[in-house]
Symmetry: C2
Subunit: 431 residues, 2 copies
């Protein structure tokens, strides 16, 4: 262990500034805890003149962050630029190739290039850590790739995107529609100007990809994640769910079915008995289904300056202590190319909301389709509107294969009596 | 890193057998994950003839476990004997002195001798891990001594004893008294024949001592934990608490007040909004109050064969990967002798249940005492009994110093109108 660990911080957005703040505030504490001085050598960002509320005067300024990877005064590159390609990718690759460890918060980069970068880190005998890339301040990567390593993992469920969880919470508590709440979230800074990645499941999918890789010892494969967002949810869905004793959460789920890995992001009905039920606003949570420890549960702030910076610092502390952990929980040469299975083969109960004309025989046509697929109905609610108008019908089914359910719903949607695309949501009763 | 990590397992109770099971079941997986074969060299227990449901025939049998510490075929001693003194202490000390790493589930040993053993481990360049000693399967030690190291910690709250949490849950859901539920818990194996350590707070106190040491960088000091158990709680207290919107949980709490460390185990009223509220039965949970990551929360099985064995395996995986972490989150030479403060200086709201005679002027005498200590009442419930009988009066106070509150309650208990010792419980509203 050397006596000083010198950081190059690339990216001075909210998280980068948080990391600088912790290093400045807790320098003495970090030294007691690691036996090593943690120091910032240089920083990099697009605009050198902007006041970021922290004193950067003691640090070198680097215009081209990729050059950090070549500096003699940098032991660890802290990559907080973001994006799966371009500068972030070049910087991390160059740093690892040059024998510098990398700490990153970049989920997109790791989800798309994780396998290649893990190999590169190993070949060069350096660390590559990304605690901050998944679930903000929750130390789930360390738990997964270290603490739970004595377990075979069957499944993992996570609320992994704070923005969509905030939107769903607000819709429920405020009784407001999706578009209305989204606009509000953007005004408050909880959602980006372009919120697509948050609300269509992409961001959660990046994170899920990394968790699945560790859980199952496979190369991260973002392309095999089925993405479903929350844009199509109505306030009514949230209210119907609540009447049935559930809340709707956008869950990242990975599980093994007959040896194949299934990865999905989708809204799910979560029962009151689940610890995920109470996770509201911008909080994240992860629930793991393990063979020995059963179902450990982790929750905390899923985003924000200091929580995310805390995760970056946890990775830095490891490096300051001379600790390196296999990037995805095992050496790259042992990571398998996963066999992926589609969602079709997942069995669960479902919530189905239809908007249909209010006339005799409608329910007969709908239930006939379900019967043809062997899908049985557990309960049904019909919400009356004005006479002659279309009505919402909500069905809760017994267990059915997702593939069957989806085909049935397509057929129901094509019936003349359907006035709107049906909304199908998985019910996750076993959480 | 060597190619095989050889374990000597001392103690073949429920956890020891769980560890053997995991090593046998997941041998190949552990090798993929650590790059190292994890093998059992020898085992030790009191009775070599007993059938424990696992095949031990391939392992050496050791009669005197302390001799494990001297065997050439043992790299890591897994101490699962228990007890703060005697064989467990001798074994761990000898193993560390002989340059063998130790993994233990022994909270009493670590709480009483942790500082000495940590020094010994460091002096000999070996690891000393105890994830399984605290909160069963929850990886809280790793989170505390690694992930959260970039944070200054203000306080930590834990449900750390599964037996007492089970008893409190059962009293509430079954509407039964303490003694009745305890007898039942003993029959089910959830409570020991001698349940004293579980119900009087000692066991939770051992665990809290270790968490406090890591949180504040101090030498573990069990003697400075104020212990309060659950034996004196009535079913009525649980019901009154529920009426007020709370559940009673036995919490281990450590916090800093003016630089001094306060450590306590005591029943507390936990509000519905707290994640601790929903932790029932034998589950454990830990809530940490940090300056950067804010309030991460961890829950899971607090005991049981496989959950605890999972934690032991997590520590073994670290060692198989060549990872050693400072025993209490920093080198022993940096651990401070904590300045401890008594509970007296902790301010909070309180639940106070009195049993008083039902006659004019009683409330005037009681409230006069509270007034003299500057304690103001937020709400009051009186539960009527038959005329002329003693009545339960429950008060909820505004914030008051524990010391003042306790003195006031002593005075109230000494009043002629009191027919029973009052029951005072802290309300932890900020969780």
């Amino acid at each position: 262990m050397s006596e000083v660990l010198r950081l190059g911080i690339a990216g001075l957005g909210t998280v980068g500034v948080g990391v600088v703040e912790i290093v400045q505030k807790h320098g003495a504490l970090l030294k007691r805890r690691t036996g090593c001085e943690v120091a910032v050598s240089c920083v990099s960002a697009r605009d050198s003149s902007r006041d970021r509320g922290v004193d950067l005067s003691g640090y070198g300024w680097v215009d081209d962050p990729v050059t950090m990877a070549e500096r003699d005064d940098v032991d660890v590159v802290v990559e907080l630029i973001g994006g799966s390609e371009g500068i972030a990718y070049d910087l991390v690759k160059t740093a690892l190739s040059n024998g510098k460890s990398v700490v990153t918060a970049n989920k997109a980069l790791m989800a798309h290039h994780g396998a290649e970068l893990a190999e590169l880190a190993e070949a060069n005998g350096v660390g590559l850590s990304y605690e901050a890339a998944v679930a903000g301040g929750i130390p789930i990567i360390k738990a997964m790739r270290e603490s739970l390593m004595g377990n075979e993992i069957a499944a993992l469920y996570g609320i992994l995107n704070g923005t969509s969880n905030y939107i769903l919470s607000e819709m429920r508590t405020g009784g407001r529609g999706f578009a209305d709440v989204l606009k509000d979230a953007q005004a408050k800074g909880y959602a980006e100007a372009d919120p697509a990645f948050d609300i269509n499941g992409t961001d959660a999918g990046h994170k899920l990809t990394l968790l699945a890789a560790i859980a199952f010892g496979v190369k991260p494969n973002f392309d095999a994640v089925e993405l479903n967002g929350i844009e199509h949810l109505l306030l009514e869905d949230i209210q119907f769910a609540e009447e049935l004793g559930y809340r709707i959460k956008l869950l990242g789920i990975t599980q093994k079915i007959d040896g194949a890995v299934v990865q999905s992001v989708e809204p799910c009905l979560v029962p009151r008995s689940s610890p995920l039920w109470a996770i509201e606003d911008v909080y994240n949570a992860v629930y793991v289904d393990c063979d020995a420890v059963e179902t450990p549960f982790f929750s905390g702030r899923g985003a924000g300056r200091m929580p995310t910076a805390s995760s970056v610092m946890g990775d830095i502390v490891d490096l300051a202590r001379g600790i390196r952990v296999p990037v995805f929980g095992m050496s790259s040469m042992h990571l398998l190319d996963a066999v992926h299975a589609p969602m079709d083969r997942v069995k669960s109960r479902f919530y189905l909301r239809l908007n249909v004309v209010d006339e005799p025989g409608v329910m007969a046509s709908i239930t006939a389709v379900l019967r043809d697929f062997g899908i049985s109905i557990e309960s049904m609610v019909q919400r009356g509107r004005a006479p002659g108008e279309a009505v919402h019908v909500v069905l809760k089914t017994h267990g059915a294969l997702t593939g069957d359910m989806r085909t049935a719903v397509e057929q129901i949607g094509a019936l003349d009596v359907s006035v709107e695309k049906p909304c199908l949501i998985r019910i996750e009763d076993d959480l």
